[in-house]
Subunit: 165 residues, 2 copies
């Protein structure tokens, strides 16, 4: 199939200069402030975005090289060695197409700068897309979270390490 070529539309500026030790999901990065710099040529695309309390950011895992189909998620102990899950059942950065997804709190928008909170993103990350977060668009059905089901509270406090760099 045809390759798809993307051009970053902005840069995400965060306090996390090093990909080691950052929260592994927005919930554990609660209250941490950051900014999204949208390149000025895209500023018209931000009209009406201020009305949404939360935004979906799609970004490029620019520090991850290559990918692994079987991974040991951050919430498991890398030293166990034997446990591995499919990369598509995780949010691990080293994936075939290195697109990351975070839902962040939209604090305010000034010109082409979006002030956000609840951050699990490394500084300098290229921004690919912004979508409004609309909880009602998710069908209200019973939710199961597989291998994560007894690990979610651990994920809130666990920080990243070097395993996906």
């Amino acid at each position: 199939m045809e390759k798809i070529i993307l051009n970053p539309i902005g840069i995400i500026h965060t306090p996390f200069k090093d990909p080691k030790g950052i929260p592994i999901q927005p919930k554990s990065g609660k209250g941490i402030k950051a900014t999204v710099e949208v390149f000025p040529e895209y500023i018209d695309g931000l009209i009406d975005l201020d009305g949404f309390s939360h935004l979906i950011l799609l970004f490029h895992f620019h520090l991850s090289k290559g990918y692994s189909l079987k991974v040991i998620p951050f919430v498991d102990d890398v030293q166990h060695g034997v446990f591995a899950t499919g990369v598509f059942a995780t949010r691990a950065p080293r994936r075939p197409n290195g697109i990351g997804l975070s839902i962040v709190k939209n604090i305010k928008i000034e010109k082409n700068i979006i002030y956000i909170e609840n951050i699990d993103i490394v500084d300098g990350t290229p921004l690919l897309d912004i979508k409004p977060y609309i909880p009602e668009s998710i069908a209200a059905e019973e939710i199961r979270v597989g291998w994560l089901s007894n690990k979610l509270s651990f994920a809130e406090t666990k920080l990243s390490d070097e395993r996906f760099l």
Copy 2:
């Protein structure tokens, strides 16, 4: 900034052969069945995915050419003409990086085929990524949905038209 090159990891097969007249969000496509064909070389990435009731699919809006920063969403009447919102405050397909996001129900996985339900995706769409849907990773905060707030029930029944092709 550097361009990002993606390679599709599969194809989404759905009953919607024509991008006109498909549901505009998964909730309105409830019960509609489809399959995700993951290319065989990525099959190890699907390990443990069967435990998740819902999946986030990222895909390429392959039928949309170019983009508009100001759009008239499907939930508004195109003939009003004067109303336009920023593309990043919508899910419109004609966006700077044409990445679509749908949360679908995971029915079963057989080898490299994922059987899904709740579909708002056109047949033949290139698949870019699969992530587990984890509601707990979204910070539990007050949610506001801006311009959509009095249009959400309409969005459940509204079908797409030709405006984003």
